[in-house]
Structures are given as structure tokens and as C-alpha cells.
Symmetry: none
DNA sequence: GCCTAACCGAGACGGTACGTCACGTCTTTGG
DNA sequence: CCAAAGACGTGACGTACCGTCTCGGTTAGGC
């Protein structure tokens, strides 16, 4: 249950830090980036999203709420969507672990339940906005898939693959299609029906993706 | 395979109509709505969406391309998203029938395949844009769900329910969750992975939602 | 004190009525112009001007208040300014007579006082609006000068000329410049200072334009 | 002939200024107002007024001609009329001095002639438009009177008052009414007859407002 | 202990599109 | 043929944000 997925620190890059060899430590002169401003901007964006919605969320508003200049936002992020993306990925990195107990069905159920549990009101608004922006701005769409969707797919794919190797996956499914079904249900409820994402859905998905034998006695049904 | 789902003719309504009985012939005075302009706007919106993308699609641009005034767009639609919504629903109404051959598994597979076939490049752009806008503008979201998502859910729900009544549905699923899984896969591929929606996916979904016995001999595998 | 100045009946012309001889009664076919609509429009325009001001006075508003269609306004007048112009000229024609008592100084004073008296709140708003529109729309400016300013100049010019012939006019003035001074004061107060136009101003103008001898003993002071 | 009337520098004010004492040097942060844009807008407005007339003069057109954004116009002026007002007042401030030679009649004549000389084609169009707008938009009317009409009245009033104190003013006139007559003639010719404003009119007004003795020998008729 | 570089707040800049308003015209139905 | 009703193409409005470009004023090395 340990290895948390590591992701890029920030969309902006331009990191000073060098690699292991001592050759490159450019350590530029000048004032350092204000961590205070960075956090204030992430917080302001998240709060404002909840208050006014994504459509009326503006970079000007974020900067004003954060008490910074507009340029400070644009210096580090391409736009409002990337600010939210950083806020969300930071949150996801903290809360969703990749379990490995040996019980592949239970691991899958646990991971899905944790994923769904992380998709609660402060975050769901951001997720819906990000997926929307990804459709509208292709360049952001690439960053969004790269930073958020792919890592999540890989995490779930790892678990599904373990089950498949153990012969527990339903025969008509590949790892990729199983992941499609699971995240499909997640996103469809987020975007389309807005029904809640609860533990029942995690259980239902686990039983649908795996063979009956993998789940019937192994965990839920018992005896 | 007959009953095509009927939906609202237009966002505007206000038809003069009058049934066979002589009671209602309101026939207002004044110039009639220009059908020519209406079609020109729908066409222009669809074309421009393909050419410049949703972000750079503007009401001004639609009106200019259609050779109409901006006000004529705003008179009949709340914004660019609703124009696209009308264009898409008209398309969906024409192309997706609700089959009823008695073979519930085959009907389901046919319906899904037809649904996926309708989601091809001219239309996919619009669908992705509409789902995006639905996240961003809550009021449009309601209209979108009402006019597009719900009717599609009901259509698929009807087929799934027939299978469920015949005892073919996988036991852990309800009609609603089965529909969630099918449309979840559809939308997730549209929005997230952008993988193609092909007949294989229709087959895979049918086999995953229904019991093995319903599909193994009934249609694909055959005796 | 009799001869009221005759002016054009309407800016639109196209009158059917024939002269006294029976030869010309062209009596065109079709529905006749509605006198009811015409008066309703003139009344509505005057009322609305007082209520919302000239800037927010619109042809649509006039038609709506008058209970007519917009086209009925445009059929008979070029725009809102001409509607007001007709309303004002009708009013002026009724109330300002051209006196001729033999006492030229008194006639002048009487005429100016009557002119000023006619320029009271319901009418001043219209006059100011018309003069404004005349500056902005050159074509209307021509009609405005033709229909309103010139006839008024001619009326006053007649009186001044009588005084000049009698040797009462101040020697440095011509008829034209005397009229300029009188109407200049009138319009400047209307447009610029918005001070009241009272009998004192009529008296002051009379004494300034005429020789002292013409007014000191001749009429007011009296011997 | 020295003291030119000082008026507000700009509609915007908000000068950093600071008197000689070190207490007040507010020097706000942020980018400074672009003097280049300000002049380009004033020039563009004046040029376009001459080319297309006030009715077809638009803020959009001014901004386009000036090479600025529309918002930059609206940031500093309420509308097109105020742009013209600033252009005109700057012009008036430069060209009309207040003479004081001791010969009150000559001073009056000189001032009027200078005023009339400043009212030539580039400027007359603007003056007529401004007076028109002042009738149509009451709020602008207040600004117009405040910044243009009142200062001009005060300047002329000062000269007239000197003449009155010296006993040269025609007895029936007050300072205010004398000013009314002079500016009345000016504006009436501008707006109504559009006759030229020449030196003859300056002479005529001087002789009409002052006693014959003040002008007969003093300047024109002369020895 | 400067110098130089980079970041910070603030806010004006040139733009684009918004959604609204009114214009003056055109097209209906009906007197 | 006129009148009401009302949709049409048009064009400007004033606003909101966009993303960029100055400003004066901090912070930090490096020399």
C-alpha cells in the first residue's frame, strides 16, 4: 500500500536543480519563486471554483483573491485550467495509494473505492472542469491526459494486470478494456448523470470485471 | 427496428400547428421564422466546429458564415452550444433506431454498434464540445442531459430491461448500472482516451453486461 | 393679431385632398391613412420624450405606446425626430400670432413674449432635441431649418423690418442681425444656460434692438 | 493679454503630482497611462468627425484609427463626446487669451474676434456636435457646461464687467444678459443659420452691448 | 557593499467576443 | 392598400477577460 505515484512537481518546469552529476547547478541569481504566492494561488483557484463555477473563474479573479499580480499566475501556469490541474494532482498524489495485499480482487475493490472517495465535492468540480477544458483546448488536453489520466490508468492497469495474470479477469476483457470500463463508469457518473460514486459501484465493477469465482467467496459473499 | 425516438423539434417551439379539430388555429400575424436561416446556422456551426474547434467557434462567426445577423442566432438559441445540440440531436434522431428482433443480445449489440457508428468525426467533435459545455454552464448542462443524454439512456435502458426480464442480464447489474457501464465506455473513449468506438467494443460490452449463456451460442460463437 | 403662419401639413406630403376646384380628387384606392394612428403617434412621441428623454426615445417605443406597428411610423415619417418636428410645428402654428397694432416696439415685445411663452416644458424638451438632431443628421437639419427656423425668422423679420422702416432700429443693426440676436438669446438660454425665457428678456431684447427713443416713452413707460 | 484660463488637465485627473513638500508623493505602482495613446485618440476623433460626421463617429472607429483598444478609450472617457470635449477645450485653452489693455471696448472686441476666429471648420463641427450631445445626454450636458460653457462665460463676463464698472455698458443690460446676447449670437449662427462668424459680428456685438459713446470715438469710428 | 538578475504587486495596454439594443426593411395575416 | 405583428440583416454599444507589457519595489546571489 505504499508506492504513491510520483508526478511532475509543476507544469512550469524551469527547475534549477541539476541531476546527480555536479556539472549543472546553474543556480540562477535573483529573487526566488514565492512559495507563499504559489499556495495562495492554488487555494484561491480552488475556492473560487466552488464559489462561482468554472465559467466565471478568471485568472484576474484568482490573482485578486490570492493577493498577487496577474503576471505571477501567468509566469508559472499557462492558464486557469493548469492551476486547477496542479491543485488536483497534488491532492490525488496524497490520497490514492496502490494496494498490494495478495488478494487481487480486494486490492482492486480497495483502489476503486479510494479513487471514488477522493472524488468528493471539493475535487469533483475541478475534475469536471478539467475534463471539459481538455475537450476545448487541445494543448491542455495533452497535458491533462499526460499528468492526470495516464498515471491513473497505469495505476489501475497494474492492479488489473495482476488479476489477469492470476486468471481472475473476465475472459472477454483485456487489461485496457477493463480499465476503460472502470474509469468510464467513474467519469460518466461525474460528467453525465452526476450520481454519487460510492462503494457499491466499486463492488459492482470488481464483480463485473473479474470472474465470479474471484469475488463470490473470496471477499464479499463470504462462506 | 422501427420506432425512432421522437424528440423536441426545436428549442424554440411556439409552433402554430393546429390539430385536425378546428379549435386551435392561433396563426399569429407577423413574419415567419426563416427555415433557410435556421438550416444555414446549423450547417455553419457544424462546419466551423470542424474547422477551428469549439474554443474559437463564436456566435459571431456562425452568424457570419450563415449569412444571418447575430441576433437571429440569439433569438432562437441561448448560445453556440445549443446550436450544436440541435444539430446533433437532429442527427441522432435520424440514425439510431431501436431494434426489436426478439434476440435481446443481438438487439443490444446492434444498438450499441449503431450508436458507435453515429459517433464519427463530424459528430464526435460536437459531442465532446457539448459534454464540455455541460460541465461549464450548468443551465446548458440541464438542457443537454434532458435532450440528449436522457433519451439515449432510455433507449438503451429499454433494451437492457428486455434482456433483464428474459433473465439474460448479469446478476450483479441493475438496468441503470448496465447502462452506466455502456455509456461510460462510450464517453470515456470519446473524452479521455480518444480511442475508436468500433464494433468490437459493442461486442465486448454485450458479453460483459449479459450472462455468458446469452451470447455464447445465441449469436457470436454460434453452434 | 390674426394671420397665423401656415406651414406644411406634414413632412410626408402625399395628401389626397384636392383644391377647391373639382378637377383633382385623385382619391387613390386602398385603405386611407388612419388619422387615429397619426395622432396616437404624435402624442406617444411627446409623452415618451418627457418621460425618458430623447436619447432613450425610440421608434419602437413610440409605436408600442401608440398601439401601432413600427412600419406605420416609418411609412409617414423618416424617423423619430420628424415625428417630434410635426408635433412642435403644429403647436407653434396654433399659439404664436403675428401682431400688427401700429406700435412697432410693442408688437415686437408682444411677439417675443408669445414666442417665449410657447417655449415651456412640454415643448422645450422637443425643441432642444430637434436642434440637437439637426446638428447630428444633416438631412434632418435641412428639414428642421426649412420647417421651423426659417418661418420663425421670417415672422420676426417682418416685425423688425417694420420697425427699421420706421427708423426705430438701432443703427448698427440690419434686420438679419437683429433677428440673430433675438433668436440667439432664445436658443442660447434653451440649450446653454437653461435659464427661463421670461417677459423680462422680451423687454430687454426690445430695448436693445430698438433705439432708446422707440421704447422709453413710446410704449412701456408711456407719456 | 496674458492670463489664459486654466482648466482641468484631463478628464482623468489622478495625478501623482505632489507639492514641493515631501509629504505627498503617492506615485502609484503599475504601468503609466500612455500619452501616445491619449493623443492618438484625440487626433483620431477629430479627424473622423470631419470625415464622417458625428452621427457615424463611433468609439470603435476612433479606437481603430488611433490603433488602440476600445477599452483604452472607455477607461479614460465616458464616450465619444467627452473625447471631443477634451480636444476642443485643449484647443480653446491655447488660442483664446483674455486681453486687458485698459480700452474696455477694444478688449471686448478683441476677445470676441478671437473667439470667433477659433470657431473655424475643424472646431465648429466639434462644437455643434458637443452642444447637440449636451441636449441628448443630460450627464454629458453637465460636464459640457462645466468645462466649456462656464469658463467661456466667465472670461467674457470679466471683460463685460470691467466695461460695466467703467459705465460703458448699455443701461438695460446686466453682465449676465450681455454675455447671453454675445454667446447667443455665436451659438445661433453655429447651430441655426450656419452663417460665418466674422469680425463684423464682433464689432456689431461690441457696439450693441456698450453705449454708443464707448465705441464711437474710442476705436472704430475714431478721429 | 554594491551590482545584476529575477520575482513581486499593480495596473494600463491592444485585442476579441460577448450579449443587448435599436435601426430600418421585409413578410405575414387580416381589415 | 393600409395596419398590426414580428422576424430579418446590420452595426454599434459598453463590458469582461484575455495575455502582454511596463512600472517601482523587493530579494537574492556573485563579485
Amino acid at each position: 500500500m505504499l508506492p504513491v505515484i510520483e508526478q511532475a512537481e509543476s507544469a512550469a518546469g524551469r527547475t534549477s536543480a541539476g541531476a546527480s552529476d555536479g556539472t549543472s547547478t546553474p543556480v540562477r541569481p535573483g529573487r526566488r519563486r514565492s512559495e507563499e504566492s504559489r499556495l495562495a494561488i492554488l487555494t484561491a483557484a480552488t475556492e473560487l471554483l466552488g464559489e462561482v463555477g468554472y465559467a466565471r473563474l478568471t485568472v484576474e479573479g484568482i490573482a485578486a483573491r490570492a493577493g498577487t499580480g496577474k503576471q505571477t499566475v501567468y509566469r508559472w501556469w499557462p492558464g486557469k485550467a493548469d492551476v486547477l490541474l496542479e491543485a488536483v494532482t497534488a491532492h490525488a498524489r496524497q490520497h490514492i495509494a496502490l494496494p498490494d495485499t495478495g488478494d487481487h480482487a480486494a486490492d482492486l475493490r480497495t483502489f476503486l473505492a479510494a479513487t471514488f472517495a477522493a472524488a468528493t465535492p471539493p475535487t469533483t468540480d475541478a475534475l469536471r472542469a478539467l475534463m471539459a477544458e481538455a475537450q476545448i483546448d487541445p494543448a491542455f488536453g495533452d497535458r491533462f491526459r499526460e499528468t492526470l489520466l495516464h498515471p491513473r490508468r497505469e495505476a489501475l492497469g497494474t492492479l488489473v494486470d495482476r488479476a489477469r495474470t492470476a486468471g481472475l479477469l473476465a475472459p472477454q476483457l483485456t487489461t485496457a478494456t477493463a480499465v476503460d470500463l472502470a474509469f468510464g463508469a467513474l467519469w460518466y457518473r461525474l460528467l453525465g448523470t452526476r450520481d454519487p460514486l460510492d462503494d457499491d459501484l466499486a463492488e459492482l465493477l470488481t464483480r463485473t470485471l473479474l470472474l465470479p469465482s474471484a469475488t463470490s467467496s473470496g471477499s464479499a459473499d463470504g462462506a
